[in-house]
Amino acid sequence: FGEEKIIKMSTTTSTQASGLLDILLPELEKDTGIKVKVIAKGTGAAIRDGKDGNVDVIFVHAKQREEQFVKDGFGTKRYAVMHNDFVILGPEKDPAGIKGSHDAADSLAKIARTQSMFASRGDDSGTHTKERALWEKTSVLLKSTTTTIVKKGKETEINFVQPEGKWYMSLGQGMGKTITFADEKQAYTLSDRGTYIKYKHGRKDGIDLAVFCEKDSLLSNPYGVIPISKEKRPHVKYGLAKEFADWLVSPKAQSLIANYKLHGEQLFYPDAVK
């Protein structure tokens, strides 16, 4: 009877808030005996946690940064676990006229053109990263703000790129709060489907916002899990972390993901098993 098998995992709030982990983790424990200590935070902070070796594994959705993370040697491998999709939400009046669209960039361009209010997460999260990528695909004029700070004794610049204008609200909040804000101000926003379903159907007085743009391939939102490298951070429980990652991409876990439904709607699509 060995030591308790506990690993620590940093993840984005969406995996936890969606309730998916509440389905997966008990099964994991049943199968492997591994308990996972979940620490949910913003994508940036979660990746940071991984770099510092504070956790054994990370589970996030920012594909480019994840790949960079592996390239830098902090993680051993990115396991593609699943994806869900983003949607553009808007008020019933639909002042930008984008209802039923399947072209995300075009929809954003229309929102900008009509100066309809748009609520951005503005927090460098996976969702925000995606939003920025979409804006860059439009011809909307973006403004770049640069802040210079010192990191490890060296001056570092932090860039922040976003559209300018009173209609563009940069909030710096989590998804739920941003949806609430958009609902309150009758603004457009970019959200992951899971959070949207929760806020739309999960409550007595659901939000009024509706999905106006979806199913664009650009709106895909892939999640990856990366165990932290033992070479960089020798203290991590790499063995258990790997076991966990392997389990996640196993057929059993993948079917659990595929079958997870919230208010009758599927949230996540497994990526490991076709």
């Binding site: 935070k41 913003g42 940036g44 902070a45 990746i47 940071r48 503005g122 927090d123 460098d124 999260s125 703000t145 802040t147 210079t148 700070i149 010192v150 990191k151 490890k152 004794g153 001056e155 932090i158 609200m169 940069s170 909030l171 710096g172 909040q173 709060k177 804000f181 609902d183 309150e184 101000k185 007085d205």
Partner: protein, 231 residues
């Protein structure tokens, strides 16, 4: 601790760069927290006085309730005010949500118990003879209270300072009711929380250092003001 050093230097650079956004954030923070401290003092102090000076049934239970309210979580206040002022709430038509006013309302609720509790603690230790002396010299209720404030000013000042410290460093309510909208309701603390979420720890702490400096400045003003009225 290079991390702290980094942050310290960064904070200087931020201030030196005369960043307009930084100033807006500081201004919002100060405006909001000073206003809510004032409101809370206007409500909490007289209430504290009343409780401290009058003797009535259930007084100690009332104090216990006040003490309990010191543990009022920001999330509860946030949601409560939200329910009132959101589009669907009673005060929806005033369009208060996600404005500085909303933050002020929430923060005031947060610190009224702080001001009241410490006013009570400060007053109740003032010898009752000060009150009797003022009364026999012909002071009316108001003037008597004034005398007691004067005698208890150190404790009452501490109450106000603590209340200010509480709100200027508070995140939850500012986040929920203000919305952390850049240029509108972003305060120093919500900006810090954002930078933290982004993983920009250095910038977050740099902002924290600026916040502490600003608060030190305010306390220094207070210090000199108190110094002049004589301790």
């Amino acid at each position: 601790m290079d991390f702290l050093l980094d942050s310290l230097i960064s904070s200087f650079m931020l201030v030196a760069s005369l960043d307009r956004e930084l100033f807006s954030v500081v201004a919002v923070s100060l405006k909001v927290s000073i206003t809510s401290s004032l409101f809370a003092s206007m409500i909490g102090m007289p209430f504290g006085f009343f409780v401290a000076i009058e003797s009535f049934k259930g007084k100690r239970m009332l104090i216990t309730c006040l003490n309990t309210l010191l543990a009022l979580p920001t999330v509860v206040i946030g949601l409560f005010v939200y329910a009132l002022i959101s589009r669907r709430g009673i005060f929806g038509p005033f369009d208060l949500l996600y404005t500085q006013k909303a933050i002020i309302i929430g923060q005031t609720i947060l610190i009224v118990p702080v001001v009241a509790t410490f006013t009570i603690a400060a007053i109740s230790r003032i010898d009752d003879r000060y009150r009797k002396t003022a009364m026999t010299l012909g002071a009316n209720r108001f003037q008597t209270i004034f005398v007691i404030i004067r005698e208890a000013r150190f404790g009452i000042a501490a109450a106000v300072i603590a209340a200010f410290g509480r709100v200027v460093s508070e995140v939850g309510i500012s986040m929920m009711l203000g919305g952390n909208a850049r240029g509108f309701t972003r305060t120093m603390t919500t900006a810090m929380a954002l930078e933290y979420d982004k993983g920009e720890f250095t910038l977050a702490v740099a902002l924290g250092i600026i916040l502490l400096s600003v608060s030190f400045g305010i306390n220094l003003l207070f210090h000199f003001f108190q110094g002049r009225t004589g301790q």
